[in-house]
């Protein structure tokens, strides 16, 4: 018996002197029939999205004999686990998937997505270049932008009228304006600014000439502790204060919670996205708000917005490359982007489609203007996912806004953490 145990223990020790690796994803195949698996993100109100997708599926199945399309809706919160599992086990992976553009670099480095050839696709030439850039890693396209999301400044027209105020013309004006509103109406947050709202804060940094990181050769170097960046951070964190947006209420908020305060009618201003418009229209603030581009440093300027949005990509291990690519071109193409706009309000990524919907919907103007003024993006490196998961930027904002820490010190330590992440692998 003792020998048996010793043998088992010995076998286990010998079995692996290195952790498990799944081996890189096989190049996949190119079958022309069978089931095409698609992953899309679940939404709070999924009905309209599902209807449009169903239409696309029906159209696709009719055009392709012997092909069925299985669409699964996955949760945004658990996407990291789902995608990691899919990359490790190509058998359970989808062929086509929707994913956030900030996750792209990490997914590509993980060997998840295949390079796309846009040359043979007519419609591709109308994709907005700045938006298409968010689907590229090292100049190669891995994702087709399905929609783009930009944020602008929402404000309550009734409050501004009552207090006889004008929307801010520069970033500098926001704090005093918000302070005045809260002084006059103590129930309202001057502006709903969240300590975890990275994409609400970054325009302040970019407008001041700062950045999260800059490229140095083929590596990124943190720039969040530069003088310009710190000026923007100071401007933003100043908003999370008792006389504007009390830290106890605001410091823990991310983007959704920040917009929620505005929806509840408890905030006079908020930085919100075009994707928030429909939900604000169904809230306490409905009919009492307007949107302007977030102003820049000087009057007349627009603060660069973060080019958020989702991409559609084909997985590297897909057994049905051609079918997957064709389905992607259908769902991500002009016709269905247009339909997705009607259903969900998602801003199209084709220049002509976007101009068309903008003309028909004047409410989109501030967002289109923001897009046209130029957008910015997070560093395109797999390490960004790490920095994001480690909450480096939210921690920096919260430390300064609520922790009473010195901005210089907090920015320096955030930069150090980022550089450590950039340097790894």
């Amino acid at each position: 018996m003792r020998f048996a145990v010793a043998a088992v223990v010995g076998a286990v020790v010998l079995a692996g002197c290195a952790p498990v690796q799944s081996g890189s994803a096989p190049a996949g195949g190119d079958e022309q029939v069978g089931q095409l698996r698609v992953w899309l993100f679940d939404e709070v109100n999924r009905g309209p999205k599902e209807a449009v997708v169903k239409e696309a599926v029906t159209e696709f199945e009719q055009a392709h004999q012997g092909v069925t399309v299985d669409v699964q809706y996955i949760q945004v919160q658990t996407r990291a686990e789902r995608f990691k599992a899919a990359f490790s086990d190509p058998q359970s992976a989808p062929d086509v998937a929707e994913f956030g553009n900030t996750d792209l670099a990490g997914y590509v480095a993980g060997g998840g997505f295949a390079e796309l050839d846009l040359g043979t696709w007519d419609e591709a030439k109308d994709l907005l270049p700045a938006v298409l850039d968010t689907g590229k890693v090292d100049g190669k396209v891995y994702g087709v932008p399905w929609y783009v999301g930009v944020r602008a400044l929402y404000y309550r027209t009734d409050v501004f009228q009552e207090l006889n105020l004008q929307p801010p013309a520069t970033l500098d004006e926001i704090a005093p304006l918000a302070r005045r509103i809260r002084a006059a109406k103590p129930d309202l947050l001057g502006i709903s600014a969240g300590g975890k709202y990275t994409y609400g804060a970054m325009p302040f940094v970019w407008a001041n000439g700062g950045d999260i990181a800059r490229k140095d050769g083929d590596k990124y170097v943190a720039a969040i502790d530069s003088t310009e960046s710190k000026a923007g951070l100071r401007q933003y964190t100043e908003l999370i204060a008792d006389d504007i947006c009390p830290p106890a209420q605001c410091a823990g908020n991310g983007g959704d919670a920040s917009v929620e305060a505005f929806r509840a009618g408890k905030a006079a201003m908020v930085v919100g996205g075009d994707f928030n418009r429909k939900s604000v229209d169904a809230s306490a603030a409905a009919g009492k708000y307007a949107v302007v581009p977030l102003p820049g440093k000087k009057a007349g300027e627009i603060a660069p917005a973060f080019a958020g949005g989702n991409l559609l990509g084909v997985l590297k291990g897909s057994e049905r490359k051609t079918l997957a690519t064709e389905f992607l071109r259908l769902l991500g193409g002009k016709e269905y982007q247009r339909k997705m706009f009607d259903a969900m309000g998602n801003l199209p990524t084709f220049g002509d489609v976007q101009a068309e919907v903008a003309e028909a919907n004047p409410v989109l103007e501030p967002f289109i203007k923001t897009l046209d003024a130029g957008t910015r993006f997070v560093p395109v490196t797999p390490n960004w996912a790490k920095i994001d998961a480690q909450a480096v930027l939210p921690t920096l904002l919260q430390q300064v806004a609520a922790g009473g820490e010195d901005l210089d010190k907090a920015a320096k330590s955030a930069a150090d953490e980022m550089n450590a992440a950039f340097a790894s692998s």
């Binding site: 018996m1 003792r2 048996a4 145990v5 088992v8 223990v9 286990v12 020790v13 692996g16 002197c17 290195a18 952790p19 498990v20 690796q21 799944s22 081996g23 890189s24 994803a25 990291a80 990691k84 990359f87 490790s88 990490g106 480095a109 993980g110 060997g111 998840g112 300590g195 830290p247 106890a248 209420q249 410091a251 823990g252 797999p382 996912a385 790490k386 998961a389 480690q390 909450a391 939210p394 921690t395 919260q398 430390q399 609520a402 922790g403 820490e405 790894s424 692998s425």
Partner: protein, 297 residues
């Protein structure tokens, strides 16, 4: 008894234990072996899915971890937090166990039902319910206290206190039930003899009941230490992933955030190994201290 039979006994005992040992090795040994192994490598998502070669780091992950100021701060916080939780759990559990032996049946039943309810509540549900109760704007507690708008999860120490209270709430029933059973198992004759000898209540408690409860106390204390040192759910949910700027982080949440969410499995594994080693040390130290004081008695 000759040496020979003793040896034979040992062999038979081993044969009886072998199946359990096999299961333990399979279920505990192998994962721990993998954990230690992974902690020696640079093992991220790229390595798992085979997109990048494995790099052996030796103790690199540990060196990196131990050189982080943040790690030490979080470690200190975790120890303090666990200590408060263990102490609170033991005090509340013991007090209520004693109370349960002194009250009428219906009161005892009520107490047990309430305690078992708290015990049976899943940690996620319990934490969420507590959050609702202590919500800044709509919470019952703020309504009763007349402090509407006050945030219980904002201030660092208040947030830790609230989470500790929740942890104690869901872990005292175990201590209470165990000790109640222990007290009930003390033979009446022993207590009677003590009373006949003229021992006061305090004297009976410290010289008769406590020594008899010692084995049970050891078990519940070790259990509580291990349990509270590894708290994850309550902190993660109630402080929204570690509080403002991560000031309410404990080791388990820190490991998750820094390592697993960021796909740095090697670093995460090394935090796991450090935690396991610490817990083993604490438990061993505690057992030894108990044995020493037992000898002195």
């Amino acid at each position: 008894m000759t040496m020979r039979t003793a040896k034979g006994d040992g062999r038979i005992a081993f044969a009886y234990l072998a199946p359990a040992l096999l299961v333990l090795v399979g279920l505990m040994g192998y994962p721990i072996y993998q954990l230690v192994l992974i902690s020696l490598f640079d093992y991220g998502q790229e390595q798992v899915s085979g997109g990048a070669p494995l790099t052996f780091l030796g103790l690199g992950n540990y060196a990196n971890l131990l050189s982080q100021d943040r790690f030490w701060a979080v470690l200190g916080q975790t120890i303090g937090f666990a200590a408060v939780c263990v102490l609170g759990t033991l005090v509340v559990g013991t007090a209520l166990a004693v109370l349960a032996t002194r009250v009428r049946t219906w009161a005892r039943m009520t107490l047990f039902l309430a305690a078992l309810g708290a015990w049976a509540t899943p940690a996620v549900a319990g934490s969420t319910i507590w959050l609702f109760l202590f919500d800044a704007n709509f919470g019952f507690v703020n309504e009763v206290l007349g402090t509407t708008g006050m945030s219980w999860t904002y201030d660092k120490w208040l947030a830790f206190g609230l989470v500790a209270a929740q942890v104690i709430w869901c872990s005292f029933p175990f201590v209470m039930v165990t000790l109640y059973a222990g007290i009930k198992a003390i033979p009446g004759e022993v207590l009677e003899a003590a009373a006949l000898d003229g021992a006061s209540t305090t004297r009976t408690a410290t010289s008769v009941i406590l020594p008899l409860l010692r084995p049970l106390l050891i078990v519940v204390t070790i259990q509580s230490i291990i349990w509270d040192f590894k708290v994850f759910t309550q902190i993660y949910i109630m402080t929204n992933g570690g509080g403002i700027a991560g000031r309410n982080l404990v080791l388990n949440v820190y490991a998750y955030q820094q390592a697993f969410a960021a796909s740095e499995y090697g670093l995460g594994a090394s935090i796991g190994v450090v935690m396991t080693a610490l817990l083993l040390l604490v438990t061993l130290g505690y057992l030894r201290a108990l044995r020493r004081s037992g000898e002195a008695l």
